[in-house]
Amino acid sequence: MTRFLRRRGWVAGLFILFALLLVATKIIQPGYGAGDFVSLSRAVLPYAFAVAAQTVVVIAGGIDLSVAAMMALTSVTAAAMMNGASPSYALFVVPFVLALGFVLGAVNGILIIVTRVPDIVVTLAMLFVLQGAALLVLSAPGGSAAEWLKALVVGTVPLPLLPDAVTAWFPKALLLLVVCLGIVWIPLKHSKLGLSLYAIGSSELAAFRSGVPVARTRILAYAFSGLFAAMGGLTLTMSTGIGAPIPGPYLLASVAAVVLGGVTLGGGRGGLVGPIVAVFVLRLVRTDLTLMAVDPNVTTIVEGVIMVVVVMLGAFLAMKGRSP
């Protein structure tokens, strides 16, 4: 129960932090409004899927260094396939690319289980393999995306019966994010497999002795990671209209948001909501630094310091809460 409270407490704390940052943003830039929130949601998309991909694996006690490379490969595959094709062809491309991510993720898991090489080594090797594969698909940024796919992340959701002033705060990008993550994560978390994920993350030996199929669970954890990474790759293609074979800065960002989101790097603890809110916090910090015109060479230092301070403060509060 206390653990449940603590976990919810962390997520609640992140929501409060995000709200405070929004207030701060409004003070820095009085004109900050709905349109800017829509931009924020679009900027969050690829990061959010990258962090979702990382979260599943970290909860199961692993790490996936191939997240960003997987996004690059799925992004160029989608962009190359849609290049010059009819809009309806994209209806085939999307499930194909998602399946590709799922299978490649499973390959990560199978290699770890079969070869018994540490996950950090296997996924590092896969990072290079996938990077090379992405360059084989497209040697330079290019390809295209179907217009209807691009439109999925532009603008706001038209909600009936609500005034424009309210609907302006519901970006399509946010809806897409919530739907895509929810459709996979909610059933997964409440299934036996979800319980097994947390179990092998907490203690692989205890899980094994309790009859949890450790190997299968681990493989599926990586497969779902691959699926989320493929969603991230698709959002990259949707938001830029092209595929870029060189991976973006999503690997380290995903690890950062996982930690800030209250997921224990050792595994077994945390959820998906925390890391996603953490992504919003980190992107909004970047926005604020740009709004304040902070020296660009200083911004990454500021971002890093904020992260360490928040995590330290959170751990300190959690410790205080435990002592009588």
């Binding site: 691009k150 938001s239 830029t240 092209i242 870029a244 074979p245 800065p249 740009t290 709004l291």
Partner: protein, 345 residues
């Protein structure tokens, strides 16, 4: 007595008022946003410093808002949208991709923000482009190199970053020159990613294979290539590079070395600021795209040597292009660009 004192006070007050008015005018009123996606590269640093110096020297810019980090097209779109949120009047952007940031650029121009792409072109029609003529850059250098090796032989082709529009434009120029010299063969083609360390490793790897070559064309990663040739005691073949201070120095000082530097001023960033300010003041250019033509300085002739001597500037960082200003487009002094300070800094 009191009268003169009052007069003197009055004059003083008047002068102070004038000075403050002049001061506020010199402060300028515009806010200009800058977006760049390569950090830690000498050429890009010079571009940023040129933007700062020009904003200061123009006297029309109150504040610069610089989003400068290593990222991809999606990240640059995020930066551009943040600059829109910040309420800038104009955005000077060095695009990560010719079409990948179009959606964000369109949002900016729809809001009445003047968008100027520098160094590389974008396909968004509402944006202005001020660029070095990259096709001509490659054509000039490659043609000189092919003539220098007698119109036949094997050359190493060291390109920039795959997919960058500057690289694909340069490739067009290089291929154009190559078509004019049918006996010249490309024996090795690599992408340096415009990274010094990577380029040096690639040429060392190639030298280790023992494949003979007669010349090297580089996309601006030049001085480390000459270093590699000297260090590995390989015959000094002609090398074409950019006008980076280090390479220009080598052309002047390394014995028995022939080569050519093609100008590719990083100060093009300042030209972007100048164009943006002209448009904000209601002076639109006739063309949406403005190209700055490069020059070639070689050390094979006495005339070329004189040009190189005049251009050399050992006081600059070796990775900075020596052409720190562009006539007609830049107004700052050398001290200002080296100081790298913008308005209000």
């Amino acid at each position: 007595m009191t009268n003169t004192r009052a007069l003197r006070l009055g004059l003083l007050a008047g002068a102070a008022l004038l000075a403050s008015v002049a001061g506020s005018w010199a402060q300028g009123t515009y806010t200009i946003g800058v977006s760049n996606t390569v950090q830690g590269n000498g050429w890009r640093e010079e571009m940023i410093c040129a933007i700062k110096a020009e904003a200061l020297a123009s006297g029309k810019v109150a504040k610069l808002n610089i989003a400068h980090r290593n990222t991809d097209a999606a990240g640059q779109s995020e930066d551009i949208r943040n600059l829109i949120s910040a309420g800038v009047n104009a955005i000077v952007v060095n695009p990560a991709d010719p079409s990948g940031i179009n959606a964000a650029l369109k949002e900016a121009t729809d809001k009445g923000i003047v968008v100027v792409a520098v160094d590389q072109a974008v396909t968004e029609p509402s944006a202005y482009v001020v660029s070095n003529n990259q096709e001509q850059y490659a054509y000039l250098g490659a043609k000189w190199l092919f003539q220098q090796i007698g119109g036949k032989g094997d050359v190493v082709y060291m390109r920039g970053a795959a997919g960058a529009s500057a690289d694909s434009d340069r490739d067009k120029g290089f291929k154009k020159a190559l078509a004019e010299f049918p006996d010249v063969k490309v024996v090795q083609e690599v992408f340096t990613g415009w990274q010094q360390d990577q380029g040096k490793q690639q040429i060392l790897d190639f030298i280790a294979t023992g494949t003979p070559f007669n010349g090297i064309w580089t996309s601006g990663i030049d001085n480390v290539i000459v270093d590699a040739l000297v260090e590995s005691q390989t015959p000094l073949v002609p090398v074409v590079g950019a006008d980076n201070a280090g390479f220009v120095g080598q052309l002047n000082t390394v014995p028995n070395f022939t080569g050519a530097a093609v100008t590719n001023p990083g100060s093009i960033g300042a030209a972007g600021v100048t164009l943006a300010l002209q448009i904000l003041d209601g002076k639109k250019p006739a063309e949406q795209t403005v190209l700055v033509d490069p020059q070639l300085w070689e050390n094979a002739t006495a005339e070329g040597k004189a040009k190189l001597k005049a251009a050399a500037d050992p006081s600059l960082s070796p990775e900075w292009p020596v052409s720190i200003s562009i006539p007609g487009w830049t107004d700052y002094t050398k001290e200002q660009i080296v100081a790298c300070k913008g308005p209000g800094e």
